[in-house]
């Protein structure tokens, strides 16, 4: 995957095209309407990007044909027409009643403070984005397999476990990044200190592993263990930066997959394994989760530039402050090569963060990243559309669009 991205970067023509507006041009710096911002220039990049996708996803034989015969806009209207206009979150939540109570039951801890710390983020105020995808995928796969209208208890457990693994990694990430707020409240490390926060993260992970083992399926254990490994490797990738500009983008996408998409992809795969014996379905579930997951993170990286901190519940420009060059920065640095030095020193000099932010907002980095996220969502939709139609399948299609348009 990494080398393909590199090839794409070299082979595509967006670099000169993207440069044309020049510094200071107002060219679409506004945060609003990311989808409308997919202008003609992006359409051109799209053509090359699609060419790339064909090579990046070799099993997708039909994609280039799909592109040549179906304009992008058409693809959207097509999925729109199939929409049931039910809220995917409402649909998914029907199977998730008592989610947080059940998670708290898994955290069987006698010590009050330790229990309080471990339960801190399971307060019902999170988006529960991952559990929602997991149960919708479970139902979509069950219906696809034998028209079953049930969710197995083990599949629901995967939703809990996915949220627990996610939370455990958040707790550790916040210590690593020395973050002080998340979801509009103080982080565990700010309230209880680093020492205890790390143990709380380990505790949530161990509770998730116990729940995982109790499902009693060794394949499912292997699938979700991969997530734990990817999360750590993703964090390592984030620690280093590539000097080579061409490698940077591949590095960024690999990190994005490992830190965010792997959890969604593999938990989707796990529920598909539990619901249906067909490996083709497992691959569809995995690919859907992977593409939605990458799109989700790309938009997250965009929102770090376009959203205000009240909406996000965490400070914005957070990535720059941590020295991280995300999608919008990498695209912007194509237009403003003077950003490369800042990227290499990880925005460590005074004023770097503000200047980089200005460069990004002046460039079309935000639009390019949003556009890239759209491509991943289209790929996700294409994958999930292979399943037999069901309200849950359509909700997953709709969910991938919500990922693109969310503002927090």
């Amino acid at each position: 995957m990494a080398s393909r991205w590199w090839r794409w970067r070299r082979g595509c023509s967006w670099r000169p095209a993207a440069r044309s507006p020049g510094p200071g041009s107002p060219g679409g710096a506004g945060p609003q309407g990311p989808r409308a911002a997919a202008d003609a220039r992006a359409q051109m990049a799209c053509f090359h990007f699609m060419k790339h996708l064909t090579s990046a996803f070799p099993n997708v034989y039909s994609i280039s044909r799909f592109h040549h015969t179906t304009p992008v806009a058409c693809c959207y209207s097509k999925t729109r027409s199939g929409e049931k206009f039910t809220d995917p979150f409402k649909l998914g939540w029907r199977d998730l009643k008592g989610l947080y109570e059940d998670i708290r039951k898994e955290l069987l801890i006698s010590t009050t403070e330790l229990k309080e710390m471990s339960e801190y983020y399971f307060d019902g105020k999170g988006k529960a984005f991952r559990p929602i995808i997991v149960v919708l995928m479970a139902r979509a796969c069950n219906i696809h397999h034998n028209n079953s209208r049930d969710v197995q208890a083990s599949q629901r457990s995967i939703a809990l476990i996915a949220e627990m693994i996610h939370t455990a990694s958040l707790v550790h990430d916040d210590v690593i990044d020395d973050a002080s707020s998340r979801r509009g409240k103080h982080t565990v490390n700010k309230i209880w200190g680093e020492k205890k926060a790390v143990l709380a993260g380990d505790l949530i992970l161990s509770a998730a592993s116990i729940a995982l083992a109790r499902i009693g399926n060794t394949t499912v254990i292997s699938i979700l263990t991969q997530v734990i490994e990817d999360l750590v490797r993703g964090e390592f990738l984030q620690l280093g930066s590539k000097e080579n500009e061409d490698e940077r983008f591949a590095h960024y996408l690999e990190k994005t997959f490992k830190k965010t998409a792997s959890l969604i992809a593999n938990s989707c795969k796990a529920v598909s394994v539990l619901g249906c014996p067909d490996p083709v379905v497992h691959e569809i579930a995995y690919q859907y989760g992977k593409n939605v997951g990458i799109a989700f993170q790309l938009i997250d990286d965009v929102l770090d530039f376009t959203s205000c901190s009240d909406q996000m519940g965490k400070p914005t420009s957070a990535d720059l402050k941590l020295g991280l060059a995300t999608g919008p920065v990498l695209f912007a640095s194509q237009q403003f090569p003077e950003m490369n030095a800042m990227i290499m020193r990880r925005f460590s000099l005074p004023g770097d963060v503000d200047r980089a932010r200005q460069y990004v907002l002046q460039s079309d980095g935000v639009q390019q990243t949003t556009y890239l996220a759209q491509r991943y969502c289209h790929e996700a939709i294409r994958e999930i559309s292979k399943l037999r139609p069901s309200p849950e399948r359509d909700a997953l299609i709709q969910l991938s669009e919500i990922v693109l348009t969310r503002d927090k």
Partner: protein, 399 residues
């Protein structure tokens, strides 16, 4: 089946005979022998090392292979380069790293070694006749060897994670805030990396019960570490008001659970029945408790103890001392040993030594040692079983 296994076979079959409980009868001799070791010589590192190195020969090759693989991976060698930045600071990660390399007390590999020994002592299961004996090396299944490595990985990961410092409690002598922050970052990542490797190894064992056992051991370990951290963080020199039974519960979590559950899991991997699994659990638990009490006792029984040597106010002899004395008298003794807010450990140590805490801690150490030996009685005699016994003798021996 190799010659060694053939030689072991009759003994093994003998052990499976109906009068299994007969193995309890010689246990009295063994228990008596715990006491008889007492007079022979003082506990010396040399003796301990001898016990451990002979045990290592029995299991074929030692445990820390997977840990080594981890240490040599790209991720961790990058980290090793970074750790150099911490030299000169007081970050605990440095001490942990040093102990990983220069492990003079063999404590790091001890857990893995015990898992290997008990695997060998139990041998293959009769219920498992179809099982592939071909992947046995020195009488130990390869999955049991993986388990031993996983046990070490989990232990090391927690050791690393325990060494995180609270940034708002830093002293100026610790080093610059930025470096300490960096040390934390590295410690979290390396610990997580070791845990991820442990999870990976567990998944490869393809046994959900073993995964559950080890995951619950991790949970125990975290809770145990939490208790230790929160007690050692106390600024005042007043110890927790806990009795010895609470102490035992907490110590089981922090020191016994991992070994007990790993020993049990090793039996599960060889398809031994619930009874054998329980005996392995009991050995692991009691051996670990007796080992912990032994190290708690060291500051009180070493012939030459430097006066400045501190000791944990929540260690077994101190907790027992407090229990005999009552809370009020104990606080009074601590106050008397304090001078200008600084605790005179040498003085307090003499006070404790004059009481009954030390001798009852020795008794408690032997009690757990005997429980461990009793659990071993259900295993057929073998050099592996003798090595497990010798480990108990070594930690229950006091001059």
């Amino acid at each position: 089946m190799n010659l060694q296994q053939l030689l072991r076979l009759p003994r093994y079959l003998g052990a499976l005979g109906p009068p299994r409980r007969r193995w309890w009868s010689p246990s009295l001799d063994t228990i008596a022998s715990v006491g008889s070791w007492r007079g022979q010589s003082s506990r010396s590192p040399a003796y301990w090392n001898q016990v451990v190195s002979e045990a290592e020969k029995i299991v074929g090759y030692p445990t820390s292979f997977m840990s080594l693989r981890c240490l040599l991976s790209d991720e961790l060698s990058n980290i090793a380069m970074q750790v150099r930045k911490l030299v000169g600071t007081q970050h605990p990660l440095l001490t942990t790293a040093r102990e990983l390399v220069h492990d003079s007390r063999h404590n790091l590999q001890l857990r893995g070694l015990v898992v290997l020994l008990i695997s060998k002592a139990a041998g293959p299961s009769s219920m498992n006749a179809s099982c592939q004996n071909y992947d046995m090396v020195s009488g130990i299944y390869s999955c049991q060897r993986s388990l031993a490595e996983i046990t070490e990985l989990i232990h090391t990961a927690l050791l690393v994670h325990r060494g995180i410092v609270n940034l708002n409690e830093l002293q100026s002598s610790d080093g610059p805030l930025k470096d300490m922050q960096f040390g934390n970052k590295i410690a979290i990542l390396s610990g997580d990396f070791l845990l991820a490797n442990a999870c990976n190894g567990l998944a490869l064992l393809q046994n959900t019960k073993v995964v559950e056992l080890l995951a619950s051991a991790l949970m125990d370990l975290v809770q145990g570490a939490y208790h230790e951290n929160s007690t050692s963080a106390k600024e005042t020199y007043i110890t927790d008001d806990i009795g010895i039974s609470t102490w035992k519960e907490k110590t089981f979590l922090s020191h016994g659970a991992l070994l007990a559950k790993s020993c049990q899991a090793a039996m599960e991997l060889a398809k031994h029945d619930a009874e054998v699994q329980d005996m392995a659990f009991q050995y692991g638990k009691h051996m670990a408790m007796s080992h912990k009490i032994n190290s708690d006792l060291q500051p009180f029984i070493k012939e030459k103890t430097s006066d400045s040597m501190t000791f944990n106010l929540n260690s077994a002899p101190v907790v027992l001392h407090q229990e005999f004395l009552g809370r009020d008298l104990w606080i009074k003794q601590i106050r008397e040993a304090q001078e200008k807010g600084i605790l005179d450990y040498a003085k307090l140590r003499e006070t404790i030594k004059a009481g009954k805490g030390v001798t009852s801690a020795i008794d408690l150490c032997r009690y757990h040692g005997n429980k461990a030996l009793a659990a071993l009685e259900s295993f057929p005699p073998s050099e592996a079983r003798s090595a497990l016994e010798n480990i108990v003798f070594a930690v229950t021996r006091f001059s």
